[in-house]
């Protein structure tokens, strides 16, 4: 076993808003991610999941602790870590094609290579015929496909995904889950996938990290051993799936209940 791809050590984050009291979003978070691993992160709303991803992406700095990626402590964003946001964050002034091209151009690839990759990911995410549309002309599901294509296209080694399917209808969501799994099987990228859905976490990942309610810590880690080559139906009706989902669900529920007690008390 080699060294971890991502190592999160003693990570804490305190926000100091201009008005109001400091918010302890994360407190002493520790975990390791192996290269090529698919990790899902679940936890109550406001427990600091987005904050965690933003720190790994390098957008915001930890208050305490550190994040090591490929043996190096990170302190700024970089194209080795691609992110798909909770909201799509496509550039509205660029077309679908322009959005997907953006990261490739920043990478300095030559035109032929760019064209080839753009058409590859347009095909992969089923965006044919939408190349020259602007984000405002797309449905939510389409926008999310573009957002994923944009991030995949410049081929970051690590994918950070913040509830990427949260705003989608159930059918589109399942479709994109399968698409994502297929791409992951193919490319074996390291994925950190934040979600509210226990089903989604267990269906997609190899390991589910469950976080406590605020201040967020790692409450538990559950390994998922599913045969990903099976069809969706066979997976979600398998005993392993049902049992794992229950395990995760119990933990999450406990934290969500605590959260409500805090809010009401």
């Amino acid at each position: 076993m080699g060294r971890s791809k991502i190592s999160v050590r003693g990570l804490s984050k305190v926000f100091n808003p201009l008005k109001g009291n400091p918010v302890v979003a994360l407190e002493n978070v520790n975990f390791d991610v192996e290269e090529g691993e698919f990790i899902a992160i679940v936890g109550p709303s406001g427990c600091g999941k987005s904050t965690l991803l933003y720190m790994i992406a390098g957008f915001i700095q930890p208050t305490k602790g550190e994040i090591i990626v490929d043996g190096r402590r990170i302190n700024s964003p970089g194209p080795d870590r691609g992110i798909v946001f909770q909201e799509y964050a496509l550039f509205p002034w660029l077309t679908v094609e322009g959005n997907i091209k953006y990261g490739l151009e920043e990478k300095g690839l030559d035109q032929d290579e760019i064209d080839e990759k753009v058409s590859k990911y347009i095909r992969l995410m089923g965006l044919e015929g939408f190349e020259h549309k602007y984000p405002k002309e797309l449905s939510g599901g389409m926008k999310q496909r573009v957002a994923i294509a944009r991030t995949l296209a410049y081929e970051p080694e690590i994918l950070l995904m913040d509830e990427p399917f949260g705003a989608l209808d159930a059918q589109t969501r399942e479709l994109l889950q399968e698409e994502l799994l297929r791409i992951w099987e193919e490319t074996r990228k390291t994925v950190l996938f934040v979600t509210h859905s226990v089903d989604e976490a267990v269906y997609l990942s190899q390991r589910v990290i469950i976080m406590t309610c605020r201040p967020g810590r790692v409450k538990n880690t559950v390994n998922v051993r599913l045969d990903k080559t099976l069809s969706r139906e066979d997976v979600i009706t398998s005993r392993e799936f049902v049992e794992t989902r229950h395990k995760v669900w119990v933990d999450v529920r406990e934290e969500v209940m605590k959260h409500y007690c805090i809010v009401e008390g």
């Binding site: 002034w93 990478k107 405002k136 410049y154």
Partner: protein, 266 residues
């Protein structure tokens, strides 16, 4: 299949065309009604001639004075002042807005100035500007600049400040350097806001030049109007009004066209 799609597109186009023409005719209708009422009221002797001459007299005077070149000359003068001021105000306004939004020190210095001058009716400065800059082109151009620049500054500033932080984060994570963020993300995002400022100030530039000319006399459409009024030459008065209205309308159409071209994504 292909044919069907095509005829669909064609239908959409022809529908669009019909709508445009339809809305033009209906809007022209209301103008036609006003024109007829104007003509009738002017011809009846309800109001004195110098108060409202018939539209046909106004149009005749318009044609005569365009033909002899005087009106074109004065229109040219007003346009020159308004446009020179407008272009300068656009450059200064956008630059100042960007500067204030990006640099705390620039904001610290200029913010109170803009806050003070933005709500000031610029035409109150006319007497002072006549003292400082005389009654030639310069004072009018300066007035147009003052009337427009802070509105453009404010809209640019808001466009820059209004940026979705996720856009900046996305760009940075895709490898865009800090120095290129302005050009690649901040500016395109601010463009609709900047355009709002440019659109609002275009007629203001005409108003500022026109009204200044009314006060200071000399040349330009505003002075034509005020001289005509002084000598009770009502058709001339109204023809200068018709011209400035026309110019304003054409400019508005032009900037709308440019906007829909550049901001089709918005």
């Amino acid at each position: 299949m292909e044919n069907e799609a095509f005829s669909g597109a064609e239908r959409a186009v022809s529908l669009n065309l019909r709508e445009t023409i339809g809305s033009f005719i209906s809007s022209a209708y209301s103008i036609l009604v006003i024109a007829i009422v104007w003509e009738l009221v002017g011809r009846s002797e309800i109001v004195p001639y110098y108060f409202l001459p018939p539209l046909s007299d106004v149009l005749r005077s318009l044609v005569v004075h365009i033909a002899d070149g005087t009106l074109l000359y004065h229109t040219g003068v007003t346009l020159f002042r308004a446009m020179t001021g407008y272009v300068i105000a656009s450059f200064v306004g956008v630059s100042l807005g960007l500067l204030m939004a990006r640099f705390k020190s620039a904001n610290w210095f200029f913010e109170p100035i803009v806050a003070l001058l933005l709500p000031l009716p610029p035409l109150t400065l006319v007497p002072a500007f006549i003292l400082w800059f005389g009654i030639g082109h310069l004072s009018k151009i300066m007035m147009v600049i003052v009337a427009c620049v802070f509105i453009i500054t404010a809209s640019t500033y808001h466009g820059v400040k209004n940026i979705n932080p996720y856009y900046v984060w996305s760009a940075r994570s895709m490898g865009t350097s800090e120095s290129k963020i302005l050009r690649k993300v901040v500016l395109p995002n601010a463009l609709p806001f900047i355009f709002n400022g440019l659109q609002v100030t275009l007629p203001i530039s005409l108003i500022a030049a026109f009204v200044f000319e009314m006060v200071s006399g000399g040349s330009g459409l505003g002075s034509v109007e005020i001289y005509s009024a002084r000598f009770f030459k009502a058709p001339e008065l109204y023809s200068s009004l018709v011209l400035i209205t026309l110019v304003g309308f054409i400019f508005d159409r032009i900037i709308l066209k440019i906007r829909s071209r550049i901001l089709s994504w918005y």
